[in-house]
Symmetry: C2
């Protein structure tokens, strides 16, 4: 029997519709506190939406392997709450104005309350995770959170400076791929698969996470503001060199390099335009190189899961990497 085809994002999310609705419900219940302002901030953050791609990965991983218990709902909420907590603290740090098309929480409640709301969300995520009574799950979540926090600190130290390819790949692993890997890994733990299989699931998550972030960073350089819903080249404006930019800097002339460096350093396009930068990236095929690298990660993800059982959940995991590298927003 062939696996049912997953041909588009609608198929993908339809497959998980009921589970994702339950996770949304769990998230809502989990972020109620007897301290009113926490519930308010939690509700605001949850209401901001987001693609819920992290819980979706956890669901697919566990369901592909035959797990049908409620742990996937609880842990699906946990990974989304951890993701939300990192966003709240990151927005304070970046002095963000906008998140998901709405005023960022820090602009509404101020930094003080948002520092504490982020702390509370981390604790709440662990509190729900403890319900699984599995120390291994807590080990993974705590290490994950530390790696993400360290990544954000490393990022701050690199702002405005050029950065090596290796340093950058470590940063995007910590920023995105580490959590994707954790989601897949937790699905495997719930299903009780072998350590070796858990590591394959982890690798799949890591690989699509890397692909996802590289594509995100390329789109930040190339897509229009209308499509992205945020200013173009916001990474450069924040002093962040991403993969295509690093690729070009390794190859370009000193004059070109100094143009890129001045944007990174000034965190603004002063005298150097966004088009000037794009021209340099095109001259060295740097955008193509970054996309090629994303595709390589996506291909590696497919190989990671080739031996897992064929079913509709597997089909969704096979569809996702290609979708991630071909998306335009």
């Amino acid at each position: 029997m062939n696996s049912p085809a997953i041909a588009n994002t609608k198929d993908f999310f339809d497959l998980l519709r009921d589970d994702l609705a339950e996770i949304e419900h769990e998230f809502g219940r989990d972020t109620v506190s007897n301290v009113g302002v926490i519930t308010e901030i939690g509700e605001y953050l949850r209401g901001g939406g987001g693609k819920r791609i992290r819980p979706a990965l956890l669901l697919l991983s566990s369901r592909m392997l035959g797990y049908s218990g409620g742990g996937a709902i609880r842990l699906g909420a946990v990974v989304e709450i951890i993701h939300t907590a990192t966003l709240v603290h990151d927005d304070i740090i970046d002095e963000a104005q906008i998140r998901r098309g709405r005023p960022a929480a820090n602009t509404q409640w101020g930094n003080s309350k948002c520092v504490l709301a982020g702390d509370w969300l981390y604790m709440q995520a662990f509190k729900i995770a403890i319900q699984e009574r599995n120390l291994g799950i807590l080990d993974i979540l705590i290490s994950l959170t530390q790696q993400m926090v360290e990544g954000e600190l490393l990022q701050i130290e690199k702002l405005g400076k050029s950065i090596s390819r290796e340093e950058h790949l470590d940063l995007i692993f910590r920023k995105t791929a580490c959590l994707f890997a954790t989601c897949m890994h937790l699905g495997g733990i719930l299903a009780g698969v072998s350590e070796e299989q858990q590591q394959l699931l982890r690798s799949y998550g890591r690989n699509i996470g890397m692909a996802f972030q590289i594509v995100d960073d390329v789109l930040d350089l190339t897509a229009s503001e209308e499509i992205l819903g945020k200013p173009v080249a916001s990474d450069l404006r924040e002093g962040k060199a991403t993969l295509a930019v690093i690729h070009a800097m390794e190859r370009c002339t000193p004059a070109e390099k100094s143009k890129i460096e001045s944007v990174l350093h000034d965190r603004a396009f002063n005298g150097v335009t966004h088009s000037d930068i794009l021209e340099i990236l095109l001259k060295y095929d740097s955008l193509t190189a970054a996309n090629t690298e994303a595709t390589a990660y996506a291909d590696a993800a497919l190989r990671n899961i080739e031996d897992f059982p064929a079913n509709e959940y597997k089909a969704a995991l096979v569809w996702a990497p290609n979708f991630i590298v071909s998306r335009d927003r």
Copy 2:
């Protein structure tokens, strides 16, 4: 055989000298990260000293009950690291300039890095606590942290406003007594005593924590700047009404009440002096009333441990409550 007498703070800390030195060492090792700035901030915070009263309670509780394992060292470091993490985030929120007589970490590294360093310290505390492989311990630590964070949020909402006695007692429980209770409780868990005994230890910690904070708050109103090492009446300057102030506000004339309210509201002594406030507090015996309440908590703490075995650690726990209520700084 009589228990060895504990007559002063030197006796108290001498009894724990080796264990506290080990905890200091553990704290130092625990706050090393491969991200340099975390290690720097961790080292700075640890170097700031502090009385280490929380690890001391945990040690006394466990040693009194015959526990001699290394868990007390690890968990002693854990409670001090959690305490440190809350201080880092609180200092960001309060825009503190000084902590323990030195520039607060936020003034040295900026808010962004300190938000993340606080996050990292929380995670590190849990990571070490997990080494005990005891889910009950994690339950307690996570609930503790949430209660403390909620307390700080409640505090923010009450700044500049008058507050009821009950609300205030809840705040100081969350700010101080909850962690003291946890330290005593963890000692009992390590020693493997009954649930009933654990609750008595918890009550002892809660009661001396309440006494400790009430005395601290009275000293803030009455001690001189030279003795405290910080500006007098800093609570009033931050818009915080503490127990003696609440006592007076429940009894004083409308004119006196409006003087107190204006200081709280303005977070400054504009037209109303510190002496004006002290005069009101003396008129209604409010400082005495607060000290009497602290003494009642201290007495309750003594009753909580009266049935525990007599030894030098017990003697230290018997000495501590009276010391706490009679100290002048």
